[in-house]
Symmetry: C2
Subunit: 376 residues, 2 copies
Amino acid sequence: MLARVFLTRVLEPGDEAGGRWVRELGAGEVVRRLRDGGRPLPGVSARRWAGIRARAARAEPERDLAVARASGVRFVCPGAAEWPGQLDDLGDARPLGLWVRGRAGLRMWALRSVALVGARACTEYGSHMAVTLAAGLAERGWVVVSGGAYGVDGAAHRGALGAGGATVAVLACGVDRPYPRGHAQLIGRIAEQGLVVGELPPGEHPTPSRFVLRNRVIAALTRGTVVVEAAHRSGSLVTARAAQRLGRHTMGVPGPATSALSAGVHELLRGGAELVTDAAEVVELVGEVGELAPERRGPVLPRDLLEPAARRVLAALPGSSAAGPAEIARVALTTQDDAIARLYELRALGYVERHGDDWKLTRQAVTSVREGRAAR
Amino acid sequence: MLARVFLTRVLEPGDEAGGRWVRELGAGEVVRRLRDGGRPLPGVSARRWAGIRARAARAEPERDLAVARASGVRFVCPGAAEWPGQLDDLGDARPLGLWVRGRAGLRMWALRSVALVGARACTEYGSHMAVTLAAGLAERGWVVVSGGAYGVDGAAHRGALGAGGATVAVLACGVDRPYPRGHAQLIGRIAEQGLVVGELPPGEHPTPSRFVLRNRVIAALTRGTVVVEAAHRSGSLVTARAAQRLGRHTMGVPGPATSALSAGVHELLRGGAELVTDAAEVVELVGEVGELAPERRGPVLPRDLLEPAARRVLAALPGSSAAGPAEIARVALTTQDDAIARLYELRALGYVERHGDDWKLTRQAVTSVREGRAAR
């Protein structure tokens, strides 16, 4: 893990040559070569090699991990229990690891997630659609993923949060330094109630290329990407096209043909993306039985394998009726934010379902709980 | 022809049993049986047979033709020189004939036509889009076909007329009685500068089922149908679905996802219709080389076969430069409206092309004119 922490400081996100070295030599060997020097690794010019080595000389992975831990940030590696396996679809451009802030389990959340992205300078219509779609998705038990930016991204996060739902912000900088500055409070709330993730180690700034490369993570992490408003050549179209290439559902919300901020979306729709006008239509597409999240007939993960915190929340649900998150949190001896995070995790595993603001055991879970009790 | 005139008074538009009789027995024999009585024709109940015979008893085809002629209306039969062959795609639901008001040739115009239809109670946005699309299509030499109704239809006709273009209103009543009343002036202008057509003989009223059946004619006559605004279950969707069934291009103009008047269009787009936002995108689709109007390399119809009026307009065009319709009309000794009608006809035949408001001989036409002169 330390080797990968080291590499997130040295290599830029999505560096495919770097991804290939790690795949072929292992992260430890790549770090050794970067530290000890010698022949440059394949596929890199002498000048770039010098730049990478200069970064390597300054890297302090132990310190990065300590700083991260101190601000409640963990580092999740490919292969770890919390690693979202669908990121492996990125091949050598797969993140070296993800820095994660928040209580929920990223892997489970990502299984039932949809990206909602769009213009920073969106119209009132765009902002209205983002809030409404995000709230509708959250109410249906889906996790809303976005980039934390102004405009559509912010409206999507707020819509999910406002509906008491789950949301993930994928940043193009260190997850300890919220960007944009004006969204510090919003991103703080997302870290409380949801997850803030990113490829870059603590303290790193966003750059234009980091914004673009961040978008591939949003596309790969989710079951589909919805573009709400986007002008021609907008960054959100990069996310949508990445989703298309990765075989994820690519969707667009139509707008007036006279609006420049819908022109990019219409271009996308003319190129084969699906037209969606509400959350039900989004769920109709991403909810299909697919490779990413096969329809579960019963809980796949045995209860004993659940984390203790999730098991406590599961045990706090009434046998046959529904309960609100406040009540569940009280019984599980935890905070309401933590209870919500665990409930979404349990939702992804087929244990619980959401009814309005309340949560209820699924029939399969009731059966499994009874059988568990009977077997005891 | 008289037999078919008789039948337009007796049979309702789109009556497939009636269409079959005509196909199997010939129109003359069907009229004889309707007049002389005897065994009912196949596929019709005794009660309906009585109704049809009662209508037949009152039919006066000679008088209908005379009344029509007096108000400048002609009757065009399948197989006639002016008959638009693509209506034959309707099979037994093909019109028995079309009543036509206006100077232009329907057959030639239909070859380069697009239907623009939509909600009667459209929004300002819908009306704006209809006017803009119609003007853009007219400027590109396309004929705009619609139903003469309030809302989108009216805006489409006005957009084409305003751009000095060609437009066809397909009515669900006799072409001598404009419907709706409030569009009497508009429909009069369409008859002057374009064409007003319909299946029903002089004096007939529109009925709900006639409106629905009129839509199949709009769909079949054109190379594609564009729906501008339509609520769920709107009549324009009937036209669009008929176009889809007939293998014509089916297109929709997106609008805000929050607008009930765009909901029907979005439904259509989700069902496979093409999203279009301007006239160029419409032409990109309908202008493809297809069965209806194969790309012409040179004029197909020899100049000598042109009607005298069209030949005079063709002769009035300068050899290599462009001229406006006023100038062309002056040289051809006709009205500007007539000149425009002929120019669109010549356009369909590959003789002339439009440049802004002006018209010019195509290169093929120049060659053909020169060769004609040389041969003389």
